[in-house]
Subunit: 298 residues, 2 copies
């Protein structure tokens, strides 16, 4: 079983308006709402692929209850007193996004989550830690969970940014998967170098339409998509994380793992919503993966 | 007891941002959320004045549950299957507003509400019908409720706009209270004329800082605020409705009723949130009401 962790899930609300007029009043004609958060998207993709998955994380309040009720993937969230955040996106010709900060998580709640997580990680082959941390959690939360998961015998993939990513790198996860902007902003190389020395860890950096590069103990590889896919890039990184989690579980060779990640990522771009993918695009991209070994960047 | 009716309540969410940037991503620093809807504001003002009040209306789904849980005035909502609407307001230098349409109310739910309403109206002296109608309700919903309430022996105040206001006028409520824009848009005079012939009905039109005019069987009156008050005009009309409901209950003379309505309205402008009022401003404005008889407009 692959265990996905979403510590700061969201209730995503999307309003479609003809035109966003600052300081105007807008009557919403069409709206969409669904559970959101990177870890939930990873879980959705795995579930749609038919892979055994369990989604865990933190959820609280009426909004947390809405997330749990509407999320149609096997899940076991740990309850918190705070209210799960919402995101509001206004779509006219493009998206205008409003992100609530998320609930303040108490120390006892974080302790309870770690207990629950350690037990579930012991039953998992791979653990995927994705997305932002809610207020109140220490910035090394993913490092703490990585160590717990490794101790419990699971392999660990971390898809995070900023301080959470830097901290996670020091706990030697099996795979770090930031995107190019997150990788650059986190100023990682030092921690990653150390990580690569101490554990069989690898780094995959996703670069949108330019594909992905992997820095691994077996060498460095580059994968580019078979063709450029038009669509919605939100969730493409989560689809890549799902493919890489399966690859970690099945101990695939890195070139095959990267080929799968690029194909599933392209198939996610072709689907309308994050957490979904287009099976035809997936089939087409799987046929001819363009993966090659490259000189390592460091 | 004064019974307030809110058929389309809302969960009002306000995000404060330094600057609203269309097609940008905004991290919300400070947010406010509370139950909203004109009838709820009227009930809040009455409750704060110490007047016996019961708030009823329709509420459904997780958002309806949030409204009921957070609304601190005696209330008895009737449940519906649909999800109570939200409003999202983005505040930078001014407010940008997004209004969800509200739940589709089914005919059997509307029937159940009428049953419940008739029983509660029989225990009420005054019924206040305020605000928009949710999708699915007939546009004469306020006319139907007005007749039920009058039959049950209650006096009726209607604060609505558009088709709902026009329809309500034909059911001879004791008082119609649109604001000037709503009054002009509804093209009311014909219906109101008929109403005045057939019942002891009156019309009060609120005109913001210019005060109010009343067209009543005892003559026409004009009230202007004692002084101009700076602040938040949202909810001022609801405070006026609360004052006029008390006046109807106590059968105050129109000049006194109007004086109270203008004073409470000014006190509401001076308070930060709809449904609240500033007691000092109320006291000051009550001391010297500026009400005079005027020629009737028709």
């Amino acid at each position: 079983m692959i265990l996905t962790v979403t510590l700061n899930p969201a209730w995503d609300v999307t309003y479609r308006v003809p035109r966003l007029t600052p300081h105007g009043s807008h009557r919403i004609g069409s709206m969409l709402q669904r559970p959101g958060g990177k870890g939930l998207n990873v879980a959705r993709v795995l579930h749609a692929l038919g892979q055994p998955v369990l989604a865990t994380g933190l959820a609280g309040g009426a909004t947390g209850a809405m997330v749990e009720a509407a999320f149609d993937v096997p899940n076991a969230f740990v309850g918190i007193a705070g209210e799960t955040r919402r995101t509001v996106t206004i779509v006219d010709s493009d998206a205008t996004i409003f992100n609530e900060p998320g609930p303040e998580v108490r120390l006892d709640e974080w302790s309870a989550f770690q207990e629950s997580f350690a037990a579930r990680a012991a039953e998992a082959t791979v653990v995927v830690l994705s997305g932002s941390l809610p207020p109140g959690l220490p910035e090394d939360a993913y490092a703490v969970l990585t160590r717990l998961a490794r101790t419990a015998g699971a392999r660990v993939l971390v898809d995070a940014d900023g301080a959470a990513l830097r901290a996670a790198a020091t706990a030697c996860p099996d795979l770090l998967k930031p995107n190019a902007a997150e990788f650059a902003a986190a100023n990682l190389p030092r921690e990653v170098d150390q990580s690569l020395e101490r554990a069989p860890g690898a780094l995959v950096v996703s670069r949108g339409a330019d594909g992905m590069i992997a820095v691994t103990p077996e060498g460095c590889f580059e994968a580019v998509p078979h063709e450029v896919v038009a669509g919605n890039p939100t969730g493409a990184g989560d689809a890549a994380a799902a493919a890489l989690a399966v690859a970690l579980r099945d101990r695939l060779e890195w070139p095959r793992a990267l080929g799968e990640a690029v194909a599933l990522s392209a198939a996610a771009v072709a689907a309308p919503a994050a957490g979904e993918f287009d099976p035809d695009v997936l089939r087409r991209h799987r046929r001819a993966p363009k993966v090659r070994e490259t000189p390592c960047p460091w």
